[in-house]
Chain length 168, copies 4
DNA sequence: TTTT
DNA sequence: TTTT
């Protein structure tokens, strides 16, 4: 066993934060990772769209600081799940279970020239966004007290993630 | 863009070697990569089964030296392809396109104590298995002159790989 | 053999661009890579300072686009050189020979809100900074015609890099 | 911050196991990592010799199962320490601090055909060599009760590692 | 279903 | 559909 993936790309959407029945946080998002420039094919730029899963503290940090379009570095391992869909067919899902996510762009401050300290977050005690400084109306962490961020708001829809999927 | 994967695992089957219409070699195999030991779940050991694709020289080297059950290290990038299946549904396929494969076990020689030099093979000019020494009836490279290894033997079946998939 | 390093950090100085006697471009710079936050030690943030070497086209691209303080991702392999210093003592130098460098911050345009397309550059045919768009007086590529950038200006000082160090 | 190294190579010597004054286990060894084959230089094969450091449980597992000449995969981060030597000169030491080590060869059993299960060991609770099966006089774990393995036997010599070096 |  |  050795299974290590490192990706840099941009979020195609805001992360989705859920909670397992046992109350464990999970966030999911997709990273668009540009392929190396293939000179012959004059066609437009191509990318791989890679699903990322993060758990616990790191999930909440990602949900708070990452947004659609943002550049991020992700470190983790490849995981292939499979399940039977409602037509009785086996479906295979490949994702990267991240244990380290690095935010490569600080949200632009109000009228600002941007570029503060870049942030990282890991899942091994050193998470929490460590010293994230500038927060502002438009670009700071969301999710404090506004009800539409309530993770249980999605309870109506089935979640296909159980605690058994917990990788640690 | 940055997209790097490194895996160590065992082949679930012998590699399959094909050729594109333009004559470019492609090999495919699946690597069983043991997951990190999860102590709670007393259940049996788990693994991720990860599809690997290799092209050109490296494809032929892999087809010659790798076999079911063999341990290998694979370096490459994650790629997500998608196509429409015969029911008009879009299917997503995630694979690792390898540019470096390392053979971590030399095939056991006849009565041998095993463990010769370990082999690697890259796709950047340094491939070819560079100096692979011991070959023997049962464990050396196959594919020389025996017709059932003829890559065109599979021509009857459609190949879902076109030259457009060439990653370089 | 398998030897892969991936780093994200900031340049401690502008890159130094030299040329070997045979005319091959080499650039060197140091990356400050923050260590994972160690909670106990309340002391200030620590970093590892890691020497990077890049060759050929990629060297020139780095010299053109990277600057002190800029954030970059570097992919390559660890290399340990050793030489005898002028006191007859053997000195060991560890560096990362990069084959892929990604510029994680576009230089801020004049009064600009920054954040254009992020750039990457590889050493395998896909280099050249591929379509870098915005250049401006203060932040675009330097090195065109201004003499103090002449790589041979440093000829007086000995260069401890020979063509034998060429990794490809 | 992102700092990831993955190496495969052979130990140049048996690992050295020490203990810090506070009783924390540290093991050190050097990995010979073959460089990619450079076709032009007909000279002999070259390698990089890379110092590895491992802490705690993983240190003891390495000391027990790794030996000179054995093939191993190492995952960790690059670290650059520096200290003043006895001539008042600043010396820089680059090492890989490993958090995952994989034993790629099981020790050959007595008359055995070799190739048992391959072993790994991590530093995050899943260490301990998890289910290592076959042990024998000549190739099993050492260090049980034989005095010359006593870690404090080296106490006379100064150790240049303090608890401050603890990376977690 | 995709990002800049 | 999976390897040891």
């Amino acid at each position: 066993m050795l299974n290590r993936v490192i990706l840099i790309g941009r979020l195609t959407k805001d992360p989705e934060l859920r909670y397992t029945p046992a109350g464990v946080a999970v966030a999911q998002f997709t990273l668009a990772v540009d392929r190396p420039f293939s000179r012959e094919q004059s066609s437009e730029r191509e990318a791989d769209f890679i699903p990322i899963v993060v758990w616990r503290q790191l999930a909440e940090t990602c949900a708070n600081y990452l947004r659609k379009g943002r550049l991020a570095a992700v470190e983790g391992r490849m995981q292939v799940r499979n399940y039977e869909n409602n037509e009785g067919r086996r479906v295979y899902v490949t994702e990267v279970v991240a244990d380290n996510v690095r935010f490569l762009e600080s949200p632009n401050r109000e009228g600002g020239a941007s570029q503060g300290r870049d942030e990282f977050a890991g899942n091994s005690g050193n998470s929490g966004g460590g010293g994230y400084g500038g927060s502002s109306r438009s670009s700071g962490p969301r999710n404090s007290g506004n009800n539409n961020q309530d993770p249980f708001a999605d309870d109506g829809k089935p979640i296909d993630i159980s605690d058994d999927d917990l990788p640690f």
